[in-house]
């Protein structure tokens, strides 16, 4: 139940990334902390939030560029961590959800383009057509985020419970090392990014 509440909160918060307001309430740090707090593990959420914040900080959403979704990554990893999934798989699940989310969003944008002319024609006449279309777009996007993050979380949790302990040692060692090095790589990436531009 708390996982569903967490995923719903993620779907709502993620709207802020592109579709609504852009107050950065959707930034990974905030998403991780809020989702963690909602499920009673604020510290775990803060940790994943900080890691994905650092990793995603240099990918600027400028123009039509659609980088991997660090907020979705942080939210999915937090939901998984609260559910007791092992640390490397939480991280991997988060990265997978973030990467898939940007693909799904690109598809969503193409679909919106296809119906743009017809909508513009209706909107020119006035009335509520445009407002309703904007609302529908927001709801559809939130539903997509919920479904995608939920699917990745369920699949990752299944893998963790059924296969992960029996997976080859080298796979587990590689995943653990990759996940534990992420904060340092993120931090150095931000420092270099700032140095190159300062």
């Amino acid at each position: 139940m708390t996982a569903i509440a967490g995923l719903l909160a993620l779907a709502v918060l993620e709207l802020d990334a592109v579709l609504v307001a852009q107050t950065l309430a959707s930034r990974p740090l905030v998403v991780g902390i809020l989702l963690g707090a909602l499920q009673g593990r604020a510290l775990a959420g803060a940790m994943f939030g900080a890691v994905f914040e650092l990793l995603g900080l240099c990918d600027l959403p400028v123009g039509g560029r659609l980088p991997w979704s660090a907020p979705v990554a942080a939210g999915t990893a937090t939901v998984l961590a609260v559910g007791g999934t092992s640390f490397p798989l939480c991280f991997a699940g988060g990265v997978a959800a973030g990467a898939l989310h940007s693909r799904a969003e690109a598809f969503e944008r193409k679909r919106r383009s296809a119906s743009g002319d017809a909508l513009a024609e209706r909107a020119a006449a006035g009335g509520r057509a445009l407002g309703l279309a904007l609302g529908a777009s927001v709801i559809a996007h939130a539903a997509m985020t919920f479904a995608l993050a939920g699917s990745v979380a369920v699949l990752t949790a299944f893998l963790d419970r059924r296969c992960w302990m029996d997976a080859p040692e080298l796979l587990r060692a590689g995943a653990a090392l990759a996940a534990s090095s992420a904060p340092w790589i993120g931090l150095s990436g931000v420092a270099v990014w700032g140095l190159r531009r300062a």
Partner: protein
């Protein structure tokens, strides 16, 4: 006929709708439909006596538009002012005013996007993230049990204090001063702010590393330092952080296969 003045209530309506500027973002029109939605109540006021004028005003804002979401507030304010002026002109004199609206939207959208992107996305966003992380670390060292909440509050406040001010100022100033509001921005030392914020981000990242690695044991601290150094080198060469993590994973697998414990 005198141009209508924008009331506070109308400004609030346009501002609230601007929050949905990108709700139907698409590659063809980008923020065009969102801007049309935001401007609609004001267009209805400006062109209230002329249904044909209102129809064509709506049509001209349903096309392509793109800028930084915060700069859009200034552009919207200026467009509101220009629409009011155009509607107040006699029919024969409107063509030039409407052409000016198109030119302003395209020109200002593109030129403001560059500086707003650099400041808000390229300087303030990373600086505010590091402010949040440092706030959490400071709260943790001071023994606060609410360290995560301090992080979220610091990150949100550091970004939104200037962002909200820029939105409100942009819309209200643009609606009153028109194009002059954009010209006033040129006098601000934005480049030095950007440079200062980026330098602060680098220093904050170094401090965050010291605070995070300091309490670790000798071996772990060395590993963290080496990972950071290698990460910095690879980042300098243009390798993305996610690719670097992939390489580390492969390295860990190789080490494990070779019988080493990574």
């Amino acid at each position: 006929m005198s141009a209508p003045k924008m009331s506070s209530w109308m400004m609030a309506r346009v501002g609230a709708r601007l929050l949905l500027l990108q709700a139907r973002w698409d590659p063809a029109r980008m923020q065009g439909l969102g801007l049309a939605f935001a401007l609609d109540p004001w267009l209805a006021v400006c062109w209230s006596g002329e249904p044909e004028g209102l129809l064509s005003a709506r049509r001209r804002h349903l096309g392509y538009f793109n800028t930084h979401p915060i700069a859009a507030w200034l552009v919207a304010g200026i467009v509101c002012r220009q629409e009011a002026l155009a509607a107040a002109l006699p029919s024969a004199a409107r063509e030039a005013a409407i052409g000016r609206i198109h030119a302003l939207k395209a020109g200002l959208g593109a030129s403001l996007a560059g500086s707003y992107d650099s400041f808000f996305w390229g300087a303030l966003r990373p600086a505010s993230a590091l402010a949040g992380i440092l706030a959490a670390q400071a709260a943790y060292f001071l023994g606060s049990t609410r360290a995560p909440f301090w992080a979220a509050a610091a990150a949100l406040l550091a970004y939104n204090a200037p962002a909200v001010a820029a939105r409100l100022y942009g819309l209200s100033r643009g609606a009153v001063r028109g194009e002059l509001a954009a010209a006033e921005l040129a006098g601000l030392p934005v480049q030095s702010w950007i440079l200062g914020l980026r330098r602060a981000t680098v220093c904050a990242a170094a401090l965050a590393f010291v605070l995070a690695a300091g309490p670790l044991g000798g071996g772990e601290r060395l590993t963290a330092a080496l990972t950071c150094a290698a990460g910095a080198l690879l980042s300098w060469r243009g390798v993305s952080p996610l690719a670097q993590i992939g390489f580390v994973g492969l390295g860990g697998m190789a080490a494990s296969a070779a019988g080493l414990r990574p």
